[in-house]
Amino acid sequence: MVFSSILFLLYFLPIFLVVYQFLSKTESKNLWILLASIFFYSWGAPWFVFILISSTILDFHLVKQMYNCRDLVIKKRWLITSITLNLGLLAYFKYSNFFVENINSFLTMMDFQPMAWIKVALPIGISFYTFQTLTYSIDVYRGVSKPLQKVSDYLLYIMMFPQLIAGPIVRYNLVADQIKARQEKYDDKLNGIFRFSIGLAKKVLIANQIGTVIDPLFSDISSLNTGMAWLVIMAYAFQIYFDFSGYSDMAIGLGKMMGFKFPENFNSPYISKNITEFWRRWHITLGNWMKDYLYIPLGGNRVSSTGRLYFNLGFVFLMSGLWHGASWNFVLWGVFHGSFLVLDRLFLIKLNAKFGGLFSIMFTFTLVVLSWVVFRLEQMDDIFLYYQKLFNFSGWEITTIGGAFWITFCSAILFSFCTLSRNVRVVEQWMMNTPKKPIGMILQFIGTWAILLICIATLSTSDFNPFIYFKF
């Protein structure tokens, strides 16, 4: 079930919210969220939900044992067991196919018989699930937070439907207190549904509309000329941004409707002046997770040599690439970004600064757009062909693109870059935050329903509704 489906919008969400409204105690509200989340997850992954629940319960007890243990060595062993359990699930479900395929390619190359292997189906949201379970055990181990007392609360933290499937990655220490007790305000709920509707519009009115046009073009790369190749990959850059940030907005909005405050995941990433800044604005919760749970434990910036620093940066981005998908193109994508992070530290930031802000933004945007080629196309042949099309100057004629696409494309450009203006940033802040005056509430209410009605009308006639980030 995706948030932008009729089933979710007009059946699941109303039933969930109406029942939630009538519950008064936090315990009963938590239980209702948990039940709804189990149903929500089992709708899309009916068999994996059992594995998810049992491994979560097991992890809860492992972490409890770890917390109660006074011996540091044994405590560390409990931590390693918990991490092994969680990473083991990820490794098996996400990476085993990739691993076996590569081994088999090597064996075939060496004239050996390939291993027999039945492909493992990838359960939805496993990458986000793993990162959240890891934050719980590591935060408790580090003493940042105390473990939860009730297994149902832990299940709630892990399985909460707004963020389980595609983030934002909510660290345990951020919501630990909110699970136990949270203050719910009607103005926050109103802002929550407003935020949800904005996310839905990003997904349905921009990302989906662009995707409908460019997806068929990606399957026929050889027919593209240089102009079309640039247009299509730029459109994809906007598609993925509005798709993913739209989903994050919806998750944050849903959280607000329940009284939770989830972290922001995007902050106008395409106005970044360098790749380092881009990663502070794009998928913020992943970047922060990687920094706190991988980069800093590796030594971070405080290392003896610059070589080690660059290795740490490169390694983190290699892992980030692999986290996105078990395929060589994602590894390449991680390497691409890691390399530019190193170049930023070496000279690129200083060099860009000499050319001014606008040039830096355009240069960084171009780099990001180029990196999406590797992200979008899985086959190496296609990737090389696409880069060839981008730079062989085979013609600039733009064909087969209808008028409605251009409106969507221009809107995407406008909404991606308008935050360069201070006035727009003020409006954006107003939209993201809960208004205190009644007029603000009424305006957000009208905005919510105007957007929701347009989105429902669009969804009712559209079959094209996939979420890009679901496969991670």
Binding site: S5, I6, L10, W43, Y186, M441, A457, S460
Partner: protein, 381 residues
């Protein structure tokens, strides 16, 4: 927060809950759709639950589809969305339909036929089919059964000035000319209504095609019916029936299929009305020993079929829609016929066969009927 603002927030939130529940509530209380949709579409029904279907995910998939097809007010949402696309983008959300000039709607296939964009002799099935048509045609004639082709016009051929880009050059050759050249050379009998309507459209006082329809107007249909019946009488060289048409009336309320594409657009606001001519077909008497008639045709025959059948003009009349289903139902064999059985029944039962099809579908004339007959005759020999 001030008490006043808190009350407003609470009120707006409760109102939001009511609004978001409205569609589901409507479906529960009254599932009949408001202003039901028209046109061809498959509506998904709610599936029955079973654990196996749940585990393999098929139940969820079908359930989601059913929700999307049945939620309360969904027809209004669809109409609003279609209206937006139609009014702002000039984009009809009906497959293969194009908006032309002055409110004319076209099926794209007729524009392609007119502009020759579909003209590729090597692609046409017709080159492979004409041998079978000729062979079956001659064998049927030898068995005492006549075959005649009725070619219906495509809308774009009658209104080339109304297609979206009327400045495009119209080629001399198209499927229609190709077929007619061959039919003349092969001495195949054809009633070419396309040529008739193109040549006589200035003399016909009422629209041949409605602006919002795919098929001939009811008035043009009456001309076709009249010509067909007279042709049959001439062919058998005797009086078969007495009939007349009532006085022509003008109405802006579309009858029959005169607004079929317009209706299928499923817009929120009605389209501009068009005045069309109507006249009723009245049969005064039917003489005895009329021939048995088989019509193998496409959707252009539906309007005529009702008139022919309801007035019992032929003792045994069958309409095989695209050589597939036989109408009326009473003539449908209880058990499935083999190709040979069908061929024998056809030869033994009917005195005349009419192949009625549009000018852009001539490459598949007969929809396999002649291939089956040719195979039958070949085996018989």
């Amino acid at each position: 927060m001030k008490e006043n603002a808190r009350h407003i927030a609470k009120g707006l939130w409760i109102l939001s809950l009511i609004l978001i529940s409205t569609c589901a509530a409507k479906q529960l209380i009254d599932p009949t759709p408001l202003r039901p949709l028209k046109g061809a579409f498959t509506k998904a029904d709610f599936p029955s639950f079973s654990w196996s279907k749940w585990i393999d995910g098929s139940y969820q998939h079908k359930f989601e589809k059913a929700c999307a097809n049945n939620f309360g007010f969904h027809t209004l949402f669809i109409r609003c969305h279609n209206q937006w696309n139609f009014s702002i983008w000039r984009k009809p959300r009906v497959k293969k339909v194009t908006i032309g000039k002055d409110g004319y709607l076209f099926e794209q296939v007729y524009i392609d036929g007119l502009l020759g964009t579909d003209y590729n002799p090597r692609k046409y099935n017709f080159d492979r089919k004409k041998k079978n048509i000729k062979s079956a045609y001659e064998n049927l004639k030898a068995d005492g059964q006549d075959v005649v082709f009725c070619i219906m016009p495509g809308k774009a051929f009658i209104h080339p000035d109304k297609i979206p880009d009327p400045t495009r050059s119209i080629p001399e050759k198209n499927m229609h000319t190709l077929f007619m050249d061959w039919a003349n050379k092969s001495q195949i009998e054809v009633i070419d209504f396309q040529q008739y309507f193109v040549e006589n459209q200035d003399n016909i006082p009422y629209p041949i095609f409605p602006k919002l329809g795919i098929h001939l107007s009811k008035y043009a249909e009456s001309i076709v019916l009249d010509s067909m019946l007279r042709y049959i009488e001439n062919h058998f060289d005797r009086k078969l029936y007495d009939y007349h048409f009532s006085e022509t009336t003008i109405s802006d309320i579309a009858q029959g299929r005169d607004q079929d594409i317009g209706n299928a657009l499923n817009l929120y606001f009605p389209l501009e009305k068009e005045s069309l001519a109507y006249r009723n077909f009245k049969v005064d008497s039917v003489y005895s020993e009329n021939p048995n008639l088989l019509v193998i045709g496409d959707s252009f025959y539906w309007g005529l079929y009702a008139l022919v059948l309801n007035n019992n003009l032929f003792p045994h009349h069958e309409f095989w829609y695209r050589n597939h289903n036989a109408f009326p139902d009473k003539h449908r064999p209880k058990e499935k016929e083999s190709k040979a059985q069908r061929a024998i029944r056809c030869i033994e039962t009917f005195d005349m066969t009419i192949i009625l099809l549009t000018s852009v579908g001539l490459d598949d004339a007969g929809w396999g009927y002649f291939d089956d007959l040719a195979e039958y005759y070949e085996k018989k020999q």
